[in-house]
């Protein structure tokens, strides 16, 4: 487990870019946190680190947005979904086991469907309006490697 305190938007962006830079095709990043915690904002900077040049916008309505970075980036948001079955109907599993980096907002709603090996980031609000406390957990080799790379400096 890795806990990081981010004092404001700038630090959050730095963290996101750094994480994006170490991600590889096949990685799955789950983002949990209440409405307004900054899941989409963090995804924007992860996308920057992955080399996405377009604006990353909220996928709440479209459910999936795709971007072209140094690898393909799939940005999911399952906020609107009521049950896991709907995800099967949408073929989400094909993305999770395919090529590209998947970033999933509200991932806790679909835990059953997600591969075991994944990186889970919980975003909590801190003491001030812009402070965020990020807790990273996960399973598998890639998780360990990523934690290691994020811990340097």
């Amino acid at each position: 487990m890795l806990e990081i305190r981010l004092k404001g938007l700038e630090e959050t962006e730095k963290f996101g870019i750094k994480l994006g830079e170490v991600l590889q095709s096949g990685d799955i990043v789950c983002l949990n946190g209440e409405l307004g915690a900054g899941k989409t904002t963090l995804t924007k900077s992860i996308g920057k680190g992955l080399g996405v040049e377009e604006y990353i916008t909220s996928p709440t309505f479209a459910l999936i947005n795709e971007y072209e970075g140094r690898v393909r980036v799939y940005h999911f948001d399952v906020y609107r979904l009521e049950n896991v079955d709907e995800l099967y109907d949408l073929g989400f599993d094909e993305y999770f086991y395919g090529n590209g980096v998947s970033i999933v907002e509200w991932a806790e709603k679909i835990e059953k469907l997600l591969p075991k090996e994944r990186i889970i980031i919980n975003i909590d609000k801190g003491k001030t309006l812009d402070e965020r406390i990020i807790v990273i957990t996960g399973e598998g080799n890639r998780y360990k490697e990523i934690i290691k790379e994020l811990n340097i400096d």
Binding site: T57, S58, T60, F61, D89, L90, L129
Partner: protein, 334 residues
């Protein structure tokens, strides 16, 4: 000329028969109660599998209601994107099968162009050029329509769509889904100056939008009020929030219209049904000398008639697709 049009970009399965791009002979949408009853329950909103189950029946119903058969159809129009890939595929595969089987021309339509064209159906004398504001749960665009088929994308959201901000704030206020219409209703009786929420205009020259910060500001306000044990007047929050969204939408729409010399602003998309938006736009209509137009409610939401209209105008300007037509989930607006 009769166009059979199919729209499956997101939640709704819809099929329509449209005459000469302006006259709707039928416009069947899956969320309509009729269909729900036929399937013995509520059609789940997002599953592309449900589009497959629905589509043949909806096409049949669209033809029946228009009092025509496949033989009367001259053109097939279908949404190509943007939207959900699995959902789009159902529509496009069906459209291609019909076009191939009946040897008809096929046109892939941009969903956003469709929203603009909803206004050609509503306003029989409307002609380009004009400025267009497209706002819905998934889209926020400022577009200059130079001709029936030439659209210039000038502004878009950089984070949340306007309608999405409505729905999420509504959820935080404990209102049911979809929250947009409820906020609109509460806002009418609330005090729009009770709470100040930020208006994000971005850089001076930009026509882009950003609503994520506003959503967070409302959530922060609610949290703080709860912590302090203060009473929350839901009507005032709704009115103050809605005003913050509308101020930015309306200001940028008029600014663009003036820059382009447009004498009309056309509103489209689900949020075009918002009465607060309509009345704020209309309150500036006279002083600015710019007409405000919007479609009726059924044409504001996702529907196939608007796709039929767009397909017709593309066809008469020679923009025909072929059977290699494929879905483009992140289709950009040209």
């Amino acid at each position: 000329m009769l166009t059979l049009a199919i729209e499956t970009s997101c939640d709704e399965t819809s099929c329509a028969v449209v005459k000469d791009g302006r006259e709707v002979l039928s416009n069947i949408i899956s969320s309509q109660i009729e269909i729900h009853r036929k399937f013995g329950g509520v059609v789940p909103e997002v599953a592309s599998r449900k589009h497959i189950e629905n589509i043949n029946q909806i096409i049949g119903q669209a033809l029946d209601e228009a009092n025509v058969t496949f033989k009367d159809i001259d053109l097939v129009g279908v949404t190509q994107g943007p939207g959900l890939v699995g959902a789009l595929l159902v529509g496009i595969s069906t459209a291609k099968a019909i076009a191939f089987g009946l040897d008809l021309p096929i046109i892939g339509v941009n969903h956003i162009q469709g929203h603009v064209c909803a206004n050609y159906i509503e306003h029989k004398n409307l002609e380009p050029p004009f400025t267009c504001l497209i706002v819905s749960g998934g889209h926020t665009y400022l577009v200059q329509a130079n001709s029936y088929t030439d659209y210039e994308l000038i502004g878009r959201t950089r984070d949340d769509a306007a309608g999405e901000a409505f729905d999420k704030v509504a959820r935080a206020l404990g209102l049911s889904y979809p929250g947009g219409p409820l906020i609109d209703k509460l806002a009418k009786v609330g005090n729009k100056e009770a709470i100040y929420f930020p208006r994000v205009f971005l850089e001076d020259s930009s026509y882009d939008f950003s609503f994520s910060g506003l959503k967070t500001a409302v959530l922060n306000y609610l949290n703080q009020a709860n912590q302090k044990g203060e009473d929350i007047v839901v009507e005032d929050v709704a009115a103050s929030f809605q005003q913050a969204v509308l101020d930015v939408l309306v200001e940028k729409a008029f600014r663009l219209a003036k820059e382009k010399g447009s004498d009309k602003i056309v509103i489209a998309g689900g949020v075009a049904a918002n009465e607060g938006l309509r009345s704020l736009m209309e309150s500036r209509e006279k002083e600015e000398g710019i007409d405000i137009l919007y479609p009726s409610k059924v044409l504001c939401t996702d529907n196939a008639a608007m796709i039929g209209s767009a397909a017709y105008f593309n066809y008469i300007e020679g923009k025909e697709s072929d059977l290699y037509l494929n879905v483009i989930p992140n289709l950009d607006f040209k």
